[in-house]
Symmetry: C2
Subunit: 215 residues, 2 copies
DNA sequence: GCCTGTGAAGCTATTCACAGCT
DNA sequence: AGCTGTGAATAGCTTCACAGGC
């Protein structure tokens, strides 16, 4: 199985490659993609080894070929539906952003407790009552969930998702979720990111050390 | 300088410790905090070495003491102000969440292009025109920025922030930002998280490998 | 006896450096 | 001559395992 961080970067490379294609580039060198992604050229070449589409010395990689190859690694054979729980500001931001963006991965059901939202179509996605979460997720066979509920609701939301058959969760609530073995969690801890940036932004004085990280 | 990931986890530990305190706990064992944070007990103890507040064998750590110690590591001597650029759904979600939460780190100015938002107070934070960004950020001496603008605006927003003296950026736009040496960036790539979860949620069949990561 | 603090080991990720292809 | 593909080296991060203190 490919390395954890490599999978993340492939997602980024693919987006950058789409941009290159739109700008009329048919080929790309490892150092160009590296500069766009803010990583080293060796990192790009190492990551692309798992994709298995060889580049040509002197000419670099074919952009369309790489996009296809990354798709072969990242994408499910058939479209994967995603459930989003919590249609507050954050949930709506995510619905708006993903609307029609990735054909192989789309948010197909939103859930909320607010009666004013239930039954509405929010950025192209129908909003259902959370009470129907387990039934609808199971019926639609959804395997991926996004949690954008308040901290107090996060764990039992996760429990319900797992019970309904969800195998992976992106968690935006500010608390870690506890799930059984076999369910993959990614905790996007915004407070942590902000405190980390606040910390490291203070560390490098005029000629200090230079920590960097993207992703 | 403390390790990168350790700083991130200290932020999480502190939040969990505040929760413990509210629940009436005066002391905590490494394995308890580990279970809450979903890491190993050895990891917690290793991380707490940089905090320098010793626990007591058999009794564990004093919760208030740890909170203080983590504050000594993470917090700036004086309150750090933060600028947020882009008061869309995502920007407002972040404003709402941080409202009055951390006295030592608070979002003190929001910026947007939308005339309807300019002059408004959004979740306790005044919204200014982006045209005044550099002047206001410099005047207020802000060092940390949050970028929640569309992809097309992200790079020049970052340029303006850096020009105004910002030393650290949390970037929520779906493109990596290029900044000069000395500016610390954290790219929160939501698409990447979702694609990663979609990928790994497919990998572990009934008895497959078990990748896990939180943070 | 049970938990902390930490050297040492083990593991993962990144970078180096160069052979090989065009 | 210049770029890819990759073994080897390095760096960074996590876990082991146990000595030391209460």
């Amino acid at each position: 199985m490919p390395a954890h961080r490599t999978i993340g970067r492939l997602s980024l490379y693919r987006r950058l490659l789409h941009g290159l294609l739109k700008a009329g580039n048919e080929t790309v060198h490892s150092y160009e993609l590296a500069s766009l992604a803010d990583v080293t050229a060796a990192q790009v070449r190492r990551d692309l080894m798992v994709v298995g589409r060889s580049g040509t010395p002197r000419r670099g990689y074919n952009v369309r070929d790489l996009i296809d190859g990354i798709g072969d690694v990242l994408d499910a054979p058939m479209t994967q539906g995603v459930a989003l729980v919590g249609a507050g500001n954050l949930g709506r931001a995510i619905l708006a952003y993903f609307r029609g963006r990735r054909p192989k991965l789309s948010i197909t059901a939103a859930f909320d407790v607010d009666p004013a939202k239930i039954g509405q179509v929010i950025y192209g996605c129908r909003c259902y009552p959370v009470d129907d979460l387990e039934r609808i997720v199971a019926e639609k066979g959804l395997r991926v969930g996004i949690v954008t509920v308040p901290a107090s609701e996060a764990q039992h939301t996760a429990d319900a998702l797992v019970h309904a058959g969800i195998k992976g969760i992106v968690n935006f609530a500010p608390v870690p979720l506890h799930v059984p073995t076999g369910v993959y969690i990614e905790h996007v801890d915004v407070t942590m990111f902000l405190e980390k940036v606040a910390f490291f932004s203070r560390q490098n004085g005029p000629q200090g050390e230079q920590p960097r990280e993207q992703g």
